[in-house]
Amino acid sequence: MMNQDATPLPSPLPGLALRGLLTLGGIAALIAMMVDLGISPVALAGGFTKLGVFLLAMFPPSDGGDLPRILKSLLETLAMALAGTTLAVLVAAPLGFLGARTVVGQPAFHFLFRRMLDFFRGVPVLVWALIFVAAFGLGPFGGVIALAVADIPSLSKLFAEAIENCDRGPVEGTRAAGGSRLHEIRFALAPQVAPILASQSLYYLESNFRNAAVLGIVGAGGIGFELEERIRIFAFDEVAFIVLLYMVAVALLDSLSRRLRSALA
């Protein structure tokens, strides 16, 4: 009754076979990669046993009698995050104006500029830190520069987009009132962009507090250095203590920044 004059349904078999082949191929490729990486069940079993021992050694967490020093390096990490974010914002804000299509109307420049930002966006902060610590010597300075350099491309791009999305009305109003180019930026664009810039900067501060915690691994100071030292001597109870303290600090900073951001919005 239903399918009197309809063409017969195509057989599902070829599609299913193709899917099965693709799945098998994917699994084979995955296994090949794991073999290439040297992931063996024996090594995994041994590693997880050791990891279990480490985890057991984490309880109870202890400050190792060095609480003031740990707190000081936690504050240092926060200081690095603040300084790095500030530097990044100071550089990224003008770059954002340069990269906004509505401010600099050169399509070729705009394209090249954006592509360059995209190009350097992917470099992990630790990779920058490694080279900057080698250049500037051990200590937080190289780490702060690394944080800033790692943020500038993506932050500039965000700023440029925020500026492009601005309402054109105030700009035209300023121009109609006889304002100069600088007046346009000061009285028409800046008031619209400032809250967005501020809230994006706070986001980056949060993420930099996380990033700054690993910089100590390459000698850039902060909590990462304390952690690495203790992991190296298998003092896992102290590692657990520092990680827990750090998690509390992250949660505090996040909630503070969230409050500030909602006050801005």
Binding site: L37, G122, I131, P140, F141, A251
Partner: protein, 297 residues
């Protein structure tokens, strides 16, 4: 009544002055406190250190000069032995490419396993699929904890357990992926159209069939686009893992720094950035495609 408008105006002016005054004080206080905190931060970060912070521009220029490769235009395309050729700058290209490939493999394997784990975790903490609140609570807190610990710190611990090599890197990124994707997947799961779940309930389906026929068809396109995004993040993260001994190109970067070969570092950095850039662009194109297809259907 005749002088009332004047009184109103002057009262208004006084009020306005008072408000402006208060605004000024608030702004000054804010700027003052912020600059003290920032000043302390920059001080702590050695920016005013006479040895390091002095003449930072000069130091950056000097450092850039050290990083610049020694190239001579007439010898650019000569062999590796000729000083000043491109080949002598990229003197270990095959080795670096192999290390980069290892980095990509680490990222891919970790993304696959992390995503599979995240799918399971996301079903355990989605409000519409997991009726027991305590399980949801525990899984969510666990995912949150994973997201807070920086992956390189995790990698340090795992390298201590599994020894130096790619295995520690894969496990680190698998755990990090689980933390990141688990939360996103759970959010996707909670937005699933409930009518299909109700239909399956009415048809007497068990929890597994409900997930297979009610949830997965709706969420897979979204999952796929987040997995690709995570793959991009993981390739970049895997690039850094070698610095702590967890395999991949980071090891070569570390080696270049140890031997103070800054121009080699630049060469490897450029290669790495290029690979990340190509993968980002490809994955972005695929994600756009996925989105378009999801919108059409």
């Amino acid at each position: 009544m005749t002088d009332a408008p004047d009184a109103v105006v002057s009262a208004f002016e006084a009020e306005r002055r008072r408000l402006l005054h208060r605004q000024w004080i608030h702004a000054l206080l804010g700027v003052g406190i912020t600059s003290v905190i920032l000043g302390l931060s920059f001080h702590q970060s050695q920016f005013f250190d006479p040895e390091i912070g002095a003449n930072p521009i000069g130091r950056i220029l000097e450092f850039l000069a050290r990083m610049a490769p020694h190239l001579r235009t007439e010898a650019l395309l000569e062999g590796r032995e000729v000083d000043g050729s491109l080949a002598s700058w990229f003197y270990d290209l095959p080795g670096w490419l192999a290390a980069l490939w290892e980095t990509i493999e680490i990222a891919v394997v970790a993304t696959v396993f992390g995503a599979v784990a995240a799918v399971f975790a996301s079903f355990l903490c989605a409000r519409n699929l997991m009726p027991w609140a305590p399980v949801r609570f525990l899984v969510r807190r666990l995912l949150e904890a994973i997201r807070t610990v920086p992956d390189l710190i995790m990698a340090l611990i795992l390298v201590a357990a599994f020894g130096a090599g790619a295995t520690a890197g894969v496990i680190t990124l698998t755990i990090a992926t689980l933390g990141g994707l688990g939360k996103l997947f759970a959010e996707i799961n909670e937005e699933v159209d409930p009518r299909q779940l109700e239909m399956l309930d009415a048809a007497g389906a068990g929890p597994v069939s409900k997930i297979r026929f009610g949830v997965l068809p709706q969420v897979l396109p979204n999952y796929a686009s987040y997995i690709l995004l995570r793959l991009e993040i993981n390739v970049a993260a895997a690039g850094a893992l070698g610095i702590v001994g967890a395999g991949g190109i980071g090891l070569e970067l570390q080696r270049a720094i140890t031997y103070t070969e800054f121009s080699t570092y630049l060469a490897i950095l450029l290669l790495m950035v290029l690979v990340i850039f190509v993968i980002d662009m490809t994955s972005e194109a695929i994600r756009h495609n996925l989105l378009l297809r999801a919108e059409k259907s």
